[in-house]
């Protein structure tokens, strides 16, 4: 029975003609004398034939080629469109920062000048007062928050 277990493990490979020469003769010898392993082999043959007997699907010769041509063409079209948009993107990436930076800078300057004029204690007044100028005082004066 131990030998049967070993042979049964080899039967599938034997059926596919994938066993080493030594295993092939071992299996053949055993099959000559063992009805159980012979039956097992017959069942495996049936299982193999069951699957390999499957009807083959056949496509018309140009069916897939035509579908692929369409797909490749549409992909190429999309890629070209994308590259045009991307090209525009590069252009805009180069041009946009200049006006955007200018606008932002103007806004900051406008806010600062507004705050400066609104402040009751200007930089000039501070200089005339003779008080000590620390870093914090200077920053406050420039930003117009020091009163």
């Amino acid at each position: 029975m131990e030998k049967c277990a070993k042979i049964k493990r080899l039967l599938s490979r034997y059926l596919d003609k994938e066993t080493a020469a030594s295993d092939t003769s071992l299996v053949q010898e055993h099959l000559d004398s063992c009805i159980f392993c012979k039956k097992e082999l017959a069942q495996l043959v049936r299982a193999k034939e069951f699957v390999s007997g499957k009807v083959r699907q056949i496509l018309p010769p140009d069916y897939l080629v035509c579908r692929l041509r369409e797909k490749i063409a549409s992909q190429k079209q999309a890629e070209e469109k994308f590259s045009w948009v991307a090209g525009m993107g590069i252009l805009s990436r180069r041009l946009i920062p200049v006006p955007v930076t200018a606008v932002l800078l103007s806004l900051v300057l406008m806010i600062l000048s507004f705050q400066q004029s609104a402040s009751s204690y200007s930089l000039e007044e501070h200089m005339l007062s003779g008080n000590q100028t620390t870093l914090i005082t200077a920053a406050g004066l420039i930003l117009g928050t020091q009163s």
């Binding site: 495996l44 069951f50 390999s52 499957k54 496509l59 897939l64």
Partner: protein
């Protein structure tokens, strides 16, 4: 020079015809593998198309360390696996019922063929996915264990084990069918 290599060279040289020749040559083999793996007509064609699109985009990376069909089948099996992971309902009962229903419309021999087909497909569908590809590549496509091991990225011993286990499942399915 190998015919496949000739077509590949043509394609890489800028002639789309080389790719189309490869498609014509392998489309039915690939379709049968995919159909045996997932068992759904329309989806099989979609996977077939997706696989060949991958070939189209990646043919320049084919290193010729393996044969072209081995490389192609690896793409096909992986594409089918991805699809099955996405869908998780590969051979549905509805699919099989649909096949039986369409069979009922045809003449008797067509009906028998289609019923048998549905039975085979159902039996294949009951084999766990991890074993199914090995037995399909062996029994449908007739590949060697060495080729299958390359396609499935595993050892020959593992291929043997997968085919053995798949056939054990098939044996049981056949017992069930015989009992009905």
């Amino acid at each position: 020079m190998d015919e496949d290599i000739l077509y590949i060279e043509q394609f890489l040289g800028g002639e789309i015809r080389g790719f189309e020749m490869l498609v014509r040559k392998y489309q039915n083999r690939v379709l049968n593998i995919v159909y045996s793996l997932i068992g759904q007509d329309q989806e099989s064609e979609d996977i077939l198309q997706e696989s060949f699109m991958k070939v189209y985009h990646n043919l320049k990376f084919f290193r010729r360390q393996s044969q072209f069909p081995t490389w192609l089948y690896r793409i096909v099996v992986n594409t089918a696996y991805d699809y099955m992971r996405r869908r998780k309902n590969f051979i549905s009962d509805e699919g099989i019922l649909e096949m039986s229903a369409s069979a009922a419309k045809g003449p008797r021999d067509v009906l028998l063929t289609q019923e048998k087909e549905a039975m085979i497909q159902a039996a294949l569908g009951n084999i766990p996915l991890k074993f199914r590809a090995a037995v399909v590549l062996k029994d449908i496509e007739g590949l060697s264990y060495a080729q299958i091991s390359e396609i499935l990225h595993c050892s020959i011993g593992t291929v043997e084990s997968k085919i053995y286990r798949a056939r054990q499942f098939l044996k049981n399915e056949l017992f069930k069918l015989a009992g009905e």
